[in-house]
Amino acid sequence: MKQAQAFTTVYTKIERITKATCSLRAQGISNEEMALIAGRPAQVVKIEGDLVTLQVFAGTQGIGTAADVMFLGEPPSLRVGTDLFGRFFNAFGQPIDGGPQLEGEMRFIGGPSVNPTRREQPSRLITTGIAGIDLNNSLVSGQKIPFFADPEQPYNEVMATVALRSGADRIVLGGMGLSNDDYLYYRRIFEDAGVLEKITSFINTTDDPPVERLLIPEMVLTAAEYFALDLKQDVLVLLTDMTLYGDALAIVSNRMDQIPSKDSMPGSLYSDLAKIYEKAAQFKDGSITIIAVTTLSGGDITHAIPDNTGYITEGQLFLRRDTQISKTIVDPFRSLSRLKQLVIGKKTREDHHQVMNTGVRLYSDAANARTKQENGFDLTDYDRRTIAYALDYARELLAIDVNISIDEMLDTAWRLFARHFKKEEVSIKRELIDKYWPETE
């Protein structure tokens, strides 16, 4: 929290206390301004005449009607500067790594939107070494895309891997409802990789009050906008886990007596999530790319949080356990990168588009063949070959532990085609076959 400035008044008479809010009579208060109630951070959420209602982030347990209330005169803010580099903060921008307080320029969080006519079209390819991403769902700077994963999937590990390989100038991590173990995991992996200086983190763990999480994305994005616009850097923002962010929204709206819509979520869920994700943008120099995690319950994407997310983000990456090869893969059917056509074949090799489509189509033929097999129908020779191909394809390309360049991915795919199929079965343009079909296998 910012150091207290010159306060005019300390109020000591709270009229109404609920689980999450305190109301008192006060003058000259502005909407959304911060305050301290018995030392706890709170924010103005409602003003009716001189009756001001504040939301207390940590909850109101133990607050008395005579507690000190100090208004800080300003909405939540973050001090930005190069002293953000390599640091860990809580939801209020206070250090949790034992380092010094921030001293940079003060910026209000949750700033305005970029004028859409001033955006640039995203065009820089981001490579991760993971074929399920680079080959089938290429990412582009300025994109916003979540991992959809069940809680048991290793999404934090995959995110960390993607971040470290992305080639971004700077990484900003927003942890919401992170378990302490996951928080320590991120710290260790960034330290081990020797890239701590590149990283700034804002962390709310399960030890902290859930409502504080609501500040995390805006803190993260305020820092990201400083890096991208003031320092003209390519910034990668990691947000995990947005489902827990949504849960916090539901808690608040419930405590504010709002009428819930689908899945007990507030009616404004779409706008609330969009406000965060739309901060992803390509600027003339510099960019903000957002990779998030949305945990699913039993793979259900019709729940309000993944559903609204899908309408907002530019695709989604589905993590799934492939029991045939006993590894986690990026599911080629349910994953989608909406911006991939901006780079495929333009920033990558000419055969990328056709190889990608053919690879997935043959994998889907294998899925059909397996269904046939399970239903007890006879398999044709082609069916058997697609099943063999699918095993190789999953092991050598889809598995998330693969780490190769896009050209290697394309060469691998051609090798697999040649291993299992005849030239005329892959229905790829003649000239590409002539150029890339490996004759040795």
């Binding site: 949750g110 305005p112 004028n115 859409p116 955006r119 819509s261 706008s271 969009a274 559903d307 911006l339």
Partner: protein
């Protein structure tokens, strides 16, 4: 004296104002902040001297006691020459004219330049009698004869007391002076204002719309046609291609003006339009697409209340051009975001909620909006139309939700995007069986099609619809019983439907030839499909069916990629005929 007031309450973007004079529902007022910003707001509830208003901007930092000025008018837009090619936000601020990278709160930019000069040519004479909407003259806007009209707000008959001659005038210069029967005078310039929530009704009649509007998309034009002045909607889960389909229609529809309203959607999608439209040719005129397009954009992160207003802003501009006797196409993506904006506000007003917490009158609001589309006969004998197509983003992809259901009641064309089709890359992913066009049932439309295409056209369309249905049930049978446990005829029925699907319904949006198909070509290809589906073929076993039809399909697909009636096209067609002879039962 204008009414003023001061703020006494704030929750999110809803403020309570204590006023000192008369106010009206939906009146616009401006809230002054300490920093000197003027935030546009709209009255949405009045109780005694307390007024609730929604602020169209973020409300952080606003204090009670802030001064509010009322304007005595509802939310209005500027209508006049210079609208074409512009990019507006939901309140008609010119986005290009805004300063800085970020949208600054309270920065209002004029929609039209009042100083720009236009060459005016009068179309009427001094002394003539006119009514609201009548054409006084015209100016040249890009390629278009933009009519300068008697303000829509005038009532009764007016006499033209003076009218300027042909020449260059600034948009704000007086063009005409009108006098009413009771001696009232009205000065008219090139820009008039109109409240967006009211429909412009300065026309003689609103007859049944009957003339199909060509979009170049085969599954729409042939199987589920929309008409000029018609309404349609496109529901679909995320990733099923709603926005892509709308972009295809926007680029290829045979209309004079296209208005794209991006309601609460992704900014990068709008950036795509900004980048491409000045470069891409209009397929009919060869001009750049941007020259016939107006984009109204309120992306998902822009203020919610302005998002709600944006569809009305776009509709009003559409109606304005319709009054010039033009064909206008209005596309809104996505109307669900508009409905959600209504929900957020209704929630804050603590109204009793309807299903899924949407306002109770959602159905009426949607119906009212769709009713503003239509073909109209102007008083001078010309006619114009506003065709409206909205997308719907059903929560969880489930079509049984309030916005989809309310829209289904009023929109006449239903283009259901199916996840299954999108997953199997069958684009456009419009489900041929679930989708429909009510216009095909209109007698006026049937007569027009019979006359302009051929007498039995509607029957042919019905026949292929049946083929598709039979194909689906045959496919179900085959999947349940197994390939060899059903009669070979089942396979033939199934593959005929696949032929209609692959050869006609599917279209490659990224191929320069296939992306848009003229009606003459659609008719030609549809006849081929019809012919094949009516043939009986000879097959010994089911294993012969799929390879044979795959060959036919490939042949037709290749034809679709070629210039119509080119030598190569004809050669493929000849080959197709000989393939057909191989197995056709004579």
């Amino acid at each position: 004296m204008a009414t003023t007031g001061k703020i006494v309450g704030i929750v999110a973007n809803l403020v309570t104002i204590e006023v000192n004079g008369p106010v009206s529902q939906n009146e616009i007022c401006y809230v002054e902040t300490e920093a000197g910003e003027r935030l546009q707001s709209e009255v949405i509830k009045i109780q005694g001297n307390r007024v609730s208003a929604q602020i169209f901007e973020s409300t952080g930092g606003i204090k009670t006691g802030a001064k509010v000025e009322f304007t005595d008018h509802m939310l209005e837009v500027d209508l006049g020459p210079g609208l074409l090619s512009r990019k507006y936000d939901g309140l008609q601020n010119d986005l290009d004219a805004k300063t800085g990278l970020f949208l600054k709160r309270g920065e209002n930019t004029p929609a039209l330049s009042k100083d720009q000069e236009w060459e005016f040519t009068p179309l009427v004479e001094k002394g003539g009698r006119v009514r609201a909407g009548d054409w006084l003259g015209e100016v040249r806007e890009n390629w278009l004869n933009h009519k300068i009209m008697v303000p829509f707000s005038l009532e009764g008959v007016w006499e033209i007391e003076s009218l300027v001659g042909k020449g260059n005038y600034r948009a704000s210069d007086e063009i005409a002076l009108l006098r009413s029967a009771d001696g009232k005078k009205q000065s008219v310039n090139m820009i008039q204002r109109w409240p967006i929530r009211l429909a412009i009704q300065s026309y003689a009649a609103k007859p049944v719309a009957y003339k199909p509007l060509q979009t170049g998309v085969r599954i729409i034009d042939t199987l589920n046609p929309i008409v000029e002045g018609g309404t349609g909607f496109i529901p679909g889960p995320f990733g099923s291609g709603k926005t892509v389909l709308q972009h295809i229609i926007a680029a290829n529809a045979q209309v004079d003006i296209v208005i794209i309203c991006a309601v609460g959607e992704r900014a990068n999608e709008v950036v795509e339009l900004f980048v491409e439209y000045p470069e891409v040719d209009d397929p009919y005129t060869g001009r750049k697409l941007m020259e016939r397009t107006i984009i109204v954009v309120n992306t998902s992160n822009m203020p919610v209340a302005a998002r709600e207003a944006s569809v009305y802003t776009a509709m009003t501009i559409a109606e304005y051009y319709r009054q010039m006797g033009l064909k206008v196409l209005l596309l809104a993506d996505s109307t669900s975001r508009w409905a959600q904006a209504l929900r957020e506000m209704s929630n804050r007003l603590e109204e009793l909620p309807g299903p899924d917490a949407f306002p109770m009158d959602l159905t009426a609001i949607i119906a009212n909006f769709y009713a503003r589309a239509g073909r109209v006969d102007l008083r001078n004998g010309e006619s114009g139309s506003v065709t409206f197509i909205g997308t719907v983003s059903p929560a969880g992809g489930n079509l049984k939700e309030p916005v989809t259901e309310a829209t289904k009641k009023v929109a006449r064309c239903f283009y259901a995007l199916s996840q299954k089709r999108a997953d199997s890359k069958r684009y456009p992913a419009i489900d041929p069986i679930d989708s429909y066009s009510k216009y095909l049932e209109y007698q006026e439309v049937q007569e027009f099609l019979a006359e302009s295409i051929e007498p039995h056209w509607v029957e042919k369309v019905g026949y292929i619809n049946d083929v598709l249905r039979q194909g689906r049930s045959a496919s179900n049978q085959i999947n349940i019983l197994g390939d060899d446990s059903v009669p070979v005829g089942y396979h033939e029925v199934y593959w005929k439907s696949e032929l209609a699907d692959f050869g006609f319904l599917q279209q490659d949006a990224f191929d320069p030839v296939d992306r848009v198909t003229a009606m003459s070509r659609q008719r030609y290809m549809f006849d081929i499909i019809n012919k094949i589906c009516r043939f009986d073929f000879r097959f010994e076993t089911f294993t012969e069916v799929a390879p044979y039809f795959k060959r036919l399909i490939n042949q037709i697909k290749q034809m679709n990629y070629l210039e119509f009636q080119s030598d190569e096209f004809k050669q493929l067609e000849d080959e197709l005929d000989s393939f057909l002879m191989e197995r056709k039962v004579s």
